[in-house]
């Protein structure tokens, strides 16, 4: 088989489920002949036909909306938005309908939909091609929000998302689409949703991140290890619902925490992580949880995007702030 990249793992999962389940259809802009602008659907139309892998006209509201009708009829639509920057016209249908259909009909109809989109910055793309607005989806009731951070997790979580009986927004960190290769057997085995993954064990500080930022987070952890500081690194993977238990377990050991994300800080997902830690682990904290995030400004055009993205130095600075925090926390 050989090792595959994250984006290849996406393709592999789509192919597996298209093969296994006749109800699965894949559609979006340029996903057919062209195989998607990132090649995430490469070869799928050839293999499964243009009745199951479809190029849509250019209309995101439509892509979101038809998925709901398809799902209500028992299909398993997997809809691609070409970039997260073009998902906003779809928000109405995701929020007003996909996340509500089961509840609205008291279980009569449901929306087992996967809305996929590449997301995040760092690839020197034009404006609107580098968005990280996962928090918008995290606030919407009735959804799941999933972000993979490795080929194996991309494969296993996407399978889980497609099989999940409720709608999932599945954001793919495009900066690491091809950053690493991994052996990912095409076993059809899903990974659990709603469960965090501990990527690195440690006792001194808990680092929480997801998607592409885990790259810098793990780098920072390595660097800390050289100084004898052992960071525990947690990838929630499912951002909503959030597996806070894994975080609390970690805080029992470390008592210090840093949350890292690319998105703007204000009302970002980091805030929810901090709030839940405040609620469930207040007494465990020896220092305020630090947030290392994108700034509260627009994702800049690419000449300045590295200034915007939280890199290892900013993560390290935050860790040191947490570690150096005057012994003891509140009062």
């Amino acid at each position: 088989m050989g090792e595959i990249t994250l984006v290849e793992a996406i393709t592999q999962a789509l192919a597996f489920e298209l093969q296994a389940d006749q109800r699965v259809v894949v559609f979006g802009e340029d996903v057919g002949v062209n195989g998607g602008v990132f090649r995430a659907t490469e070869g799928l139309q050839d293999r499964f036909g243009s009745a199951r892998v479809l190029d849509t006209p250019l209309a995101e509201t439509m892509i979101a909306g038809i998925a709901i009708g398809m799902a209500a009829q028992g299909l398993r639509p997997v809809a691609e938005f070409q970039f997260m920057g073009f998902i906003y016209p779809a928000l109405d249908h995701i929020l007003s309908h996909a996340g509500r259909y089961r509840n609205r009909t008291r279980g009569r109809l449901s929306c087992p939909i996967v809305y996929r989109a590449p997301y995040g910055g760092g690839i020197h793309a034009p404006e609107h091609h580098s968005e990280s607005t996962e928090a918008l989806f995290a606030h919407i009731p009735g959804l799941r929000l999933v972000v993979p951070s490795s080929p194996a997790r991309a494969y296993g979580l996407l399978l889980a998302a497609i099989r999940n009986p409720d709608p999932v927004v599945f954001l793919e960190p495009k900066r690491i689409y091809r950053a690493a290769r991994q052996e990912v057997p095409d076993s059809g085995d899903a990974l659990p949703l709603d469960r965090a993954f501990v990527l690195r064990e440690g006792t001194d500080v808990t680092l929480i991140s997801w998607g592409a930022s885990l790259k810098e987070t793990l780098q920072a952890a390595e660097q800390l290890a050289e100084e004898g500081i052992e960071a525990e690194v947690i990838d929630p993977a499912t951002l909503k619902p959030l597996d806070i238990h894994t975080v609390i377990d970690s805080l029992e050991k470390t008592h210090r925490c840093v949350v890292i994300h690319e998105a703007a800080r204000f009302c970002g997902l980091g805030a929810e992580v901090v709030a839940q830690i405040n609620e469930y682990a207040f007494d465990l904290l020896h220092a305020p949880v630090q947030r290392v995030t994108g700034y509260d400004t627009v994702m800049p055009y690419f000449q300045l995007e590295d200034e915007y993205l939280p890199g290892a130095p900013r993560i390290l600075a935050a860790v040191r702030k947490a570690l150096d925090y005057a012994n003891g926390g509140a009062v």
Binding site: T61, L75, D243
Partner: protein
Amino acid sequence: MHKPRMQLLASFDIASLEYLDERGHTTQALPDFATPDTLVAFYRQMALARLVDDRAVKMQRTGQLGTYPSSLGQEAIGVGVGAAMAKEDVYCPNYRETGALLERGVTIQEIYAIWGGDERGQNFRHAREDLPLSVPIATQMLHGAGVAFALKYKHEQLGEPMRVAVTTGGDGSTSRGDFYEAINLAGDWQLPLVVVINNNQWAISLPRSEQTACKTLAQKAIAAGIPSLQVDGNDVIAVREAVGDAVERARRGAGPSMVEAVSYRLCDHTTADDASRYQPEQALKEAWSREPLRRLRSYMQAHGFWGDSQEEEMQRELNQALEKAVQEYRDTPRDAATAIFDHLYETLPEAFLEQYQQLRGEN
């Protein structure tokens, strides 16, 4: 200035259809389906819709129901649409189609539950595959296109018989991108979708003439490359014929089409509205002279298969059915508080159990 020479690329016509004029006189031979039995059945359903709406408004006034959108004056559209569909077709409604809902088997109690603030009303006992009532204007049209895709897919890929999706929306809905994206996709993918525009001349306070510069709403289908026509929406025969034709076209794989049915909203937008603020009295008076029930009754009476005794008998029966439904609605106990979580996900994620317990007063 010299006018340049141009080459003609394409031409389009928009036509309209009518069988019964305002006085109930036929303007052309009726279609085959228009037997006395069928027309009586249509009339009965229209009368029922009117009663259901009327009672709903009264219940709202006495605090037994929330805001309610009556379909007074548009009964022919609802009933015509409902009658044109096969049971196994899928209806993707907006929120103002009492007649169509009743035809589809949605119960009066369910309609009242929905507007009485209870999601259980959307859990249709009979019309299991029909979509729930949709409040955000025109969104249901995209869902309808998705349903139509699924029906075509199941026919072509899984060998099921071809079914059709029918979606309705108001004149106002034709201004939203959703409407347009839906018909464009339907044309592009040749989906078995029928779009019915219920042009009741008003979108709350905005008259049809200010909604768009178009002469007809039917012509908007030209932008999607799909056929369309206008019908007299006060003529249930015309509605049934036009929509039936569209449904059959879709069923035989000949693709989507659109019907603009022109009627008039003879009531306030909803019980929360006061149309006298913006609606010319004269327009309303004139519209009453074109309303759909009377003209059909005139025709039935003129042709000798309807009279006062049948009318009385029917009204009695319908009122009985209505009373029974109202009683059942009133007797339905409020849903449990935890219902707000019970159907959010198939299985409530662990992360929300604490909130669930809090709601149950457990912590």
